[in-house]
């Protein structure tokens, strides 16, 4: 798939997909979206880039092992549940604080960090699977 057209357009597409995945992740609390679907979009961006430029390039660009990203995601999700130990409420209870910045309200909550964890877990797992599959193809 290393055509000139595809290789030229792929970085642009990948950038758009990653930004969009973050948008989908953050709107997920009250509207359709969330960590799982966001992670899927980001993972397809990684897979797409892998098809365009080869797996080695992607691994270099990611810097960390995709499975380590997945592990970080599970860690973040678990920790977001563990924060509530300090507030005398059970595991995974939603905790909210709202910051006021100029005239906007910025809600920061433990469910959001949980969802970000899901995002990384899905991104890492599927990117690892996709890259492993593409690696096989490269060897042929």
């Amino acid at each position: 798939m290393k055509t000139v057209i595809f290789r030229t357009i792929a970085p642009v597409l990948v950038a758009i997909m990653v930004v969009f995945s973050v948008f989908v992740l953050l709107r997920g609390h009250n509207e359709p979206g969330g960590g799982f679907i966001g992670g899927l979009i980001a993972a397809s961006a990684v897979a797409l880039y892998g098809i365009a430029v080869g797996v080695e390039e992607v691994r270099k660009a990611l810097r960390v092992d995709p499975l380590a990203i997945a592990g970080f995601g599970v860690l973040l999700s678990s920790l977001s549940g563990l924060v509530s130990i300090a507030y005398q409420v059970p595991f995974l209870t939603g905790l909210w604080t709202i910051f006021h910045f100029e005239n906007t309200e910025i809600a920061v909550s433990s469910p959001m960090f949980f969802d970000i964890g899901v995002y990384f877990a899905v991104l890492g797992t599927l990117a690892a699977v996709a890259l492993a599959l593409e690696e096989d193809e490269d060897q042929k």
Binding site: D65, L67, A68, A70, G71, F72, G73, V74, L75, S78, L79, G81, L82, I85, Q88, V89, P90, F91, L92, T93, G94
Partner: protein, 530 residues
């Protein structure tokens, strides 16, 4: 659009949705074992390329889990079942972790066995397996098993089953040998099938009762029509029977457990089937006792066939770890026997047997692994002369055979005594004779293995004077890690066999909470209706 006042009025007229009670930090021991295992598994996944520190980190986390569970055990012993409902949503809508005696007892057994296996594994470390996430899979397996033992929600139980299945799938194929892939297909397919049956049963149950909280099910199930609810119970029996490897759905276990490294075999033999046995005890006794009565002839049949056919299978095997696999299945038969005579003694006996089987079967696999390493063979026909060569290993093996067969004063004797007493009390001669025949056959199968591997001086077909020349001594690291781990596990089994009082007391509490769910229900925070 409703105005703010209207919304407020509606909100106030609704019943409360959240628990208002504060949760003391000390209550967190209910969730910490699972949370620590998950966090540690995730961290180990991130660190899987760094060598050396992983084993220490994994062992320390298992010790931390064990400390939490012992604290939880003491609380359950003193004040009865403990519960925590995630996110403070009112049960039965929130997902509860409800820990009673059987759950915490099995969880302690599981983490202890995991700790022993991690130490044992130090002698057979393969760098590639560690890089492929061996330790993080172990921790995820422990998280799945512990979660299954502690959850108070049937759907959540399904989730932990999946966590466990995925982790065990990874561990089974981590060596990448052809035989392992073959085993993984059988193991994976049949276990996915079992989980699917479980899920179908869950769907029916939710459709009928509108709840999946275990305590709530035990309250509402008696009002449901007998026929459909028994169909659900039958589905659970099939699903968990497959997971537990009871006859006639046991074929996957001897086909897969002998293929990975001995340490992984030991972990599987100790943990996986016991989760199936636990789920059976939980669903058929606490949740759907009425259906258990209807299914009683089936359960008795399964118990009798499993008890008798499993040791016969072990007798017919020449592969050492396959034979041990059949002994694991025989133990499941004993748990079914306890389920077939559901008096306080019978259930206590079944619970006790499952706990004993966790420790003993793990130890048997560990010792089998040592034997395989010394003889450099997996087939008992090519073993022999190990008694002269390494007597500690042979003594451990024969002690474990006695414990598995249930000869006094070893650990397996006490649960079988309880089950036989319960069978005599209920005049269930079939169960009584099956348990006794199982003991006889297991000791024959086990001593036959012992005679072939240890007693006979050479390999099969050789002259009696010809000594087995292919034996190789254990290396220093094997002595230091594997032998020490196996010896300490066997020592614990012996000590518990000689002083079984604490376990007797705990399984009595466990059985009475399974048979009379009032304490379990009120711990969850639901009203006990007469």
């Amino acid at each position: 659009m409703a105005t703010t006042e209207e919304t407020q009025a509606i909100m106030e007229s609704l019943p409360p949705a959240m628990l208002e009670k504060a949760t003391a930090a000390a209550d967190w021991v209910i969730i910490l074992p699972v949370a620590i295992a998950l966090v540690c598994g995730a961290l180990l996944l991130m660190l899987r390329n760094s060598r050396g520190t992983q084993a220490v980190f994994a062992a320390l986390s298992v010790i931390a889990i064990l400390v939490c569970e012992v604290d939880l055990f003491i609380r359950v012993l003193e004040t009865g079942p403990q519960a925590m409902t995630m996110g403070n949503w009112l049960p039965p809508f929130g997902i509860s972790f409800t820990v009673d005696m059987i759950g915490v007892l099995f969880a302690i057994g599981a983490s202890f066995v995991t700790l022993v296996v991690i130490i044992y594994f130090q002698a057979e470390i393969v760098a590639r397996e560690v890089r492929n996430g061996f330790y993080s899979l172990i921790m995820l397996l422990l998280a799945g098993v512990t979660g299954a033992f502690m959850t108070g929600d049937l759907f959540n139980l399904y989730v932990w089953f999946e966590v466990m299945l995925i982790a065990s799938f990874g561990l089974l194929i981590i060596g990448g040998r052809k035989m392992q892939l073959d085993a993984a297909i059988k193991y994976g397919f049949l276990n996915f099938l079992a989980t699917t049956f479980f899920l179908i049963g869950l769907g029916y149950l939710y459709g009928m009762l509108g709840t999946l909280n275990m305590a709530d099910i035990s309250l509402t199930a008696p009002n449901a029509p007998v026929g459909p609810i028994t169909a659900v119970a039958a589905l659970f029996l099939l699903a968990f029977g497959m997971k537990a490897a009871a006859f006639p759905v046991n074929a996957w276990l001897p086909a897969s457990y002998h293929t990975p490294d001995p340490a992984i075999s030991a972990l599987f033999g100790g943990l996986l089937t016991k989760v199936g046995a636990y789920a059976l005890l939980r669903t058929l006794l606490l949740l759907l006792p009425g259906s258990r009565e209807v299914l009683d002839p089936v359960i008795t049949g399964i118990a009798v066939f499993t008890l008798i056919l499993a040791p016969l299978g072990a007798l017919a095997q020449t592969n050492l770890r396959r034979a041990v696999g059949f002994l694991v299945i025989g133990g499941i038969g004993a748990v079914f026997a306890g389920l077939a005579v559901p008096s306080l003694r019978g259930v206590a006996g079944g619970t006790f047997y499952a706990f004993h089987s966790m420790l003993t079967m793990t130890a048997l696999y560990l010792v089998a692994g040592l034997v395989e390493r010394m003889t450099q063979a997996t087939d008992t026909r090519f073993m022999g002369g190990v008694y002269q060569f390494n007597s500690p290993v042979s003594i451990m093996f024969i002690l474990l055979v006695f414990a598995a067969a249930g000869l006094p004063p070893f650990l397996g004797f006490w649960p079988k005594l309880l089950i036989v007493e319960a069978g005599l009390g209920m005049q269930d001669w079939l169960i009584v004779s099956a348990v006794l025949i199982n003991s006889l056959l297991t000791s024959i199968a086990g001593t036959r293995l012992w005679a072939h591997i240890f007693w006979r001086s050479g390999r099969e077909g050789d002259e009696a004077e010809v000594f087995n020349d292919r034996l190789r001594p254990l290396t220093v690291i094997e002595n230091r890690a594997s032998l020490t781990a196996a010896v300490s596990l066997v020592a614990v089994i012996m000590v518990l066999g000689l002083w079984p009082n604490l376990i007797f007391e705990s399984v009595r509490i466990a059985a009475s909470d399974l048979l009379q769910p009032e304490r379990y229900v009120s711990a969850t925070g639901l009203e006990v209706t007469p």
